[in-house]
């Protein structure tokens, strides 16, 4: 009996050893084959809206590229910023300023952007307001959505300060709509926003406002990739997006981002932006 037990134990151990090796091999293979790349998106809209726009796109990309993509949302912009500054996303869709920071911090590489338009901020006043020039806003209260909103806040404040040299009291009212409403209700002499959100306002609001000033322009949001993503994957994704844009269905999907004319982009496209000193107006999370 003593002999049987030991021989049986040796047999079992062998089986286990062989199984383990197989398992590791399998895992390596699948890990290699089933790598999920995270795709972070700046929370311009709320989660459901974002999902509605991006999930179909990512699924299409998955099909085209064969890689697995997972949409990762962030509750708010600061969280998103923390995310890309920490390099949590393999891919990310962010605003032009973000991409400069992201590149600086993590080396993110812009892949694709909308080539058909430029990004800029608008400053609105009430139609019946006496203010006719930016200079008259000196010393006034101006509402902005969030401090780091690129067009509505960063570009605008940079222009107002650097270009027009006016003093003003900024009020951060969380959303573009709030910014406009503050102006409508007279709580701010002017308010910052972007054309996109402005034109989507109710006529009740829109009809009471006019655009006083538009900021300098910059290319719009890119889709960027973390350097750790292999180059061939990066290229695959880039190509897939461009090919998607060529199809009517794909173009429609992309237009929801919005990217209406997907073109290849690179960091140099955003360099001018880097010289406008936007970091002075950027508020780090925790500040």
């Amino acid at each position: 009996m003593f002999r049987n037990f030991f021989s049986r134990a040796r047999y079992s151990l062998t089986v286990v050893q062989i199984s383990l090796v197989c398992l590791v091999l399998a895992m390596n293979t699948s890990a290699r084959a089933e790598q999920v790349y995270t795709f972070g998106v700046v929370p311009q809209f709320e989660a459901r809206a974002l999902a509605a726009i991006w999930v179909p796109i990512l699924e299409e990309l998955e099909q085209r590229t064969g890689i697995r993509l997972k949409l990762v949302g962030s509750p708010r912009i600061p969280e998103f910023e923390e995310g890309f500054e920490a390099g949590e996303f393999d891919f990310a869709y962010m605003n032009p300023y973000h991409v400069l920071v992201a590149n600086e911090k993590q080396g993110y590489i812009p892949l694709v952007r909308d080539g058909g338009r430029q990004l800029f901020g608008v400053l609105v006043v009430r139609k019946d307001s006496p203010i006719q020039s930016v200079a008259e806003l000196d010393g006034q209260v101006i509402s902005f959505p969030a401090p780091n909103a690129l067009g509505a806040s960063l570009l605008m404040r940079a222009d107002l300060d650097a270009l027009h040299n006016i003093q003003f009291s900024p009020v951060y009212v969380s959303t573009h709509t709030s910014s406009y409403l503050n102006v409508v209700l007279g709580r701010a002499a002017a308010g910052g926003g972007v054309m996109g959100t402005f034109s989507k306002q109710d006529s009740e609001v829109k009809d009471l406002l006019r655009v006083l000033y538009e900021t300098r322009r910059t290319p719009p949001h890119p889709i960027a990739a973390h350097p750790r993503v292999p180059a061939d994957i990066r290229e695959k994704v880039q190509t897939a997006i461009l090919e998607m844009a060529a199809t009517p269905e794909g173009a429609e999907m992309l237009a929801g981002i919005p990217i209406r004319e997907a073109i290849v982009t690179e960091l140099t496209d955003y360099q001018d932006l880097g010289e406008w000193g936007l970091e002075n107006y950027f508020v780090q999370s925790g500040e």
Binding site: S143, V173, S174, S178, Y180, V184, L185
Partner: protein, 756 residues
């Protein structure tokens, strides 16, 4: 009456109608009506009073809810407000507004009163809206205010609907319950009450056996119980009352029978007495004897008067005095009475005068009773007046139908204290004032009774030493002529108008009277008048003599033993012999209307009451004599006496047309036909004969009579026929009787003419 009065009356009339209609409803209907009114009242009160209150309560309740929500929302808006996140405020408030369809508008302002939401406040129709405001506090200070305009109309409408359905359900339940109660009560009370009332109605109609509803222990049951007992009581009372009435009636009957008998028993000897005295008066008397006789006469008259008074009174009390109604000339009546009382008045030196104003029309009334009363009053007046005047005046009736007569005297008068007692029974004034006035004191009380029986009034007005006026009235309204001639009065013989001279005819008279004295008296009376009298001492003998001999007149006493006057009369009439058609005068001490009927139907022509007065006797004799005298017209004869029994001219013509032999044959058969016809008419069974048959017989005979020129007989037949056709059985009977007489005469003449 002005308009408002009329309207008032109309309104009153309307409300009366409604009240009447309410009263006439059944218990059930009343209950249901009441129920409807109560329920309707409750419903209206509920709607008018409770509903608004409930409305307000709901509004208050909801308002509190709204305020709470406002406060909560306001609290929720504060962070957004502080961070100027206006869009968030707008989004949130939009959602909240969306969730409250009845929040018409929401106005959110900051602490400075600047509107935050909405951008533009909509214009709203504020009439039906409730404005609620809540202030939002932060650290003890107002940070914002929210005003919401709420439309509660839907809630209110729902509440109203709910209220209505509640009312409807409550009403339904209540009504159902009440109807159940109504049915319950209907069974317990309504039906039983109806049954009871039916039994009461039946009882009123005489049915004491109607079924009563079941009697239970409750109040209705007790009512039924009580009713049953009451019914039994009433029934028993009715029985005993009718028994008592029967007793009373029989007592009255006995009394009147007693009266009749007594009146006969008293009057008969009186008759003998007075009659004999009258005869004695006519004989040769010494002065002394004459005086004695006068005294006897006075006493006798007085006695008769008293007897009549007492009997009158008893009769009137027994209700026997029937009032007739005839038309008469009051002036004439007064004159006649004055004429007959002239002597009485003259004795005391009094003058009687008729002071009736002008010529009067005929008036209706019981002339006999009026005469009686007038006699009484005048005799009274005469008693108490000496060497004075007594004036009688008739006052016609207008506008009421009461005529009156007054008797005024210039006598000693009556003291006021006695005026009330004057009409009482047996009252007499202090006799010291009256000398030889006499009287039983019954005259006025009888007069009073008589006047009252005529539905009139009698009264007296008097001043002592100056005089008195008695006046009485009677109902002079026209009365249909279905009244009987008065009982014991002599049938008013048709008094002629004086045109006829009354020849002194000597009649053959038969007196059938069982009482020796009465017979003797009558005999002497008649003998004095110059008539030939035969006596029969009983009915049988009377019939024998009457059927054997022809008499012009028969006096028939009614009450005779064995064979009474009526039987005798019938026998005589039926015999068709000798005096079968002679006038028969009934002699009776008492004659009630129904007796007169009997007498007449037995065949009597007249009725005389005992004691027989000479005057009336003479009247009867005169009328009989007049009938004998064919030259005189008598008012009551339908056939003028100068019409012959046989129209010889007509007869001769008839004979010549068919020849003597044939005429004789014809005559024979005519006689035998007529005999049998008359016999059947005179048959006591004639009442059973159909009037039609009588008419036929008469008609048939009148044809033949015409041929033979038997004019008077034919006229009699026509009478019979017409009375039969008119169903006038009374006149028919007398016509048939008359026919007998006519036939006898005609037959005799026919026998003579044709030598049969």
């Amino acid at each position: 009456m002005n308009v408002s009065d009329r309207v008032g009356i109309k309104k009153e009339g309307l409300s009366l109608t409604y009240r009447k209609r309410w009263e006439n409803l059944s218990l059930r209907s009343k209950f249901i009506l009441l129920l409807i009114v109560v329920v309707a009242g409750f419903d209206l009160a509920f709607i008018a009073l409770w509903q608004p209150r409930a409305n307000q309560f709901i509004v208050d309740l909801q308002s509190r809810e709204v305020r709470n929500e406002l406060a909560t929302a306001g609290e929720g808006m504060l962070p957004f407000l502080f961070q100027n996140q206006i869009a968030a405020i707008h989004e949130t408030l939009d959602v909240i507004m969306g969730r409250h369809p009845n929040w018409v508008a929401l106005d959110f302002k900051d602490a400075d009163g600047n509107r935050i939401y909405p951008i533009n406040l909509p214009t709203i129709d504020a009439t039906s809206l409730v404005h609620l405001e809540e202030q939002v506090f932060f650290r003890g200070e107002v940070a914002a205010s929210m005003v919401v305009a709420v439309d509660f109309s839907q809630e209110q409408a729902e509440l109203r609907k709910y209220g209505y359905s509640m009312v409807a359900i409550a009403t339904g339940i209540f009504a159902f319950a009440m109807l159940a109660v109504a049915v319950f009560f209907e069974v317990l009370i309504g039906r039983r009450a109806a049954g009871l009332s039916k039994a009461a109605e039946a009882m009123a109609d005489g049915d004491f056996e109607a079924e009563l509803p079941k009697a239970s222990g409750d109040e209705i049951g007790q009512l039924i119980h009580g009713f049953a007992r009451m019914r039994k009581n009433v029934y028993d009372t009715q029985i005993s009352l009718s028994e008592a009435r029967e007793e009373a009636e029989s007592a009255t009957l006995a009394k009147s029978q007693f009266l009749a008998v007594m009146s006969h028993e008293i009057r008969t000897p009186l008759n003998g007495l007075l009659g004999t005295m009258q005869l004695l008066e006519a004989t040769k008397l010494t002065k002394r004897q004459s005086r004695f006789l006068q005294t006897m006469g006075t006493s006798g008259d007085l006695l008769l008067h008293h007897v009549n008074d007492v009997l009158d009174l008893s009769r009137l009390d027994a209700g026997k005095g029937k009032i007739i109604s005839v038309q008469f000339d009051p002036n004439n009546l007064i004159d006649e009475v004055i004429e007959s009382m002239w002597g009485v008045a003259k004795n005391r030196g009094n003058e009687l005068r008729n002071t009736t104003q002008k010529a009067t029309e005929l008036v209706w009334g019981d002339s006999i009773k009026i005469r009686q009363v007038l006699f009484n009053l005048i005799s009274n007046a005469s008693k108490f007046t000496k060497n004075g005047k007594i004036l009688i005046e008739f006052v016609p009736s207008s506008p009421t139908h009461f005529a009156s007569i007054s008797v005024t005297d210039t006598g000693i008068g009556i003291a006021e204290k006695y005026l009330g007692r004057v009409f009482s029974d047996f009252e007499q004034l202090d006799t010291s004032h009256i000398r030889g006035a006499g009287g039983t004191g019954l005259g006025l009380s009888i007069s009073k009774r008589i006047v009252e029986a005529m539905r009139g009034r009698i009264s007296v007005d008097s001043t002592p030493e100056i005089g008195s006026t008695f006046s009485f009235s009677w109902d002079s309204a026209e009365v249909p002529a279905n009244t009987q001639p008065l009982a014991d009065e002599i049938q008013p013989l048709q008094i002629d108008d004086g045109k006829c001279t009354t020849p002194q005819v000597s009649l053959n008279i038969l007196v059938v009277e069982d009482n020796r004295i009465n017979r003797f008296v009558l005999h002497e009376m008649l003998k004095n008048e110059g008539h030939n009298v035969t006596e029969a001492e009983n009915g049988k003998v009377g019939v024998e003599i009457a059927t054997a001999n022809r008499f012009d007149l028969i006096f028939m006493d009614i009450s005779m033993p064995e064979f009474d006057g009526m039987e005798a009369t019938t026998a005589i009439r039926n015999s068709l012999q000798a005096s079968f058609d002679s006038p028969i005068v009934a002699l009776t001490a008492h004659a009630l209307p129904q007796d007169i009927e009997k007498f007449k139907s037995a065949g009597m022509n007249e009725v005389l009451t005992k004691p027989i007065s000479r005057a009336l006797l003479q009247e009867v004799l005169q009328s009989i004599a007049r009938k004998q005298d064919t030259e005189c017209l008598s008012g009551d004869l339908d056939h003028p006496a100068d019409i012959p029994f046989l129209d010889l001219e007509c007869l001769d013509e008839f004979v010549s047309s068919i020849g003597q032999e044939k005429a004789v044959e014809f005559a024979k058969s005519f006689v035998s036909d007529t005999e049998s016809g008359i016999e059947s008419l005179l048959n006591p069974e004639v009442e059973k004969m159909e009037l039609e048959d009588i008419s036929k017989i008469a008609h048939k005979l009148s044809g033949s009579a015409a041929l033979f020129g038997a004019v008077r007989f034919r006229a009699g037949l026509i009478d019979v026929e017409s009375h039969a056709n008119d169903c006038d059985s009374k006149n028919l009977k007398s016509a048939i009787l008359e026919l007998m007489g006519l036939w006898a005469q005609t037959k005799n003449r026919l026998y003579v003419h044709f030598d049969l």
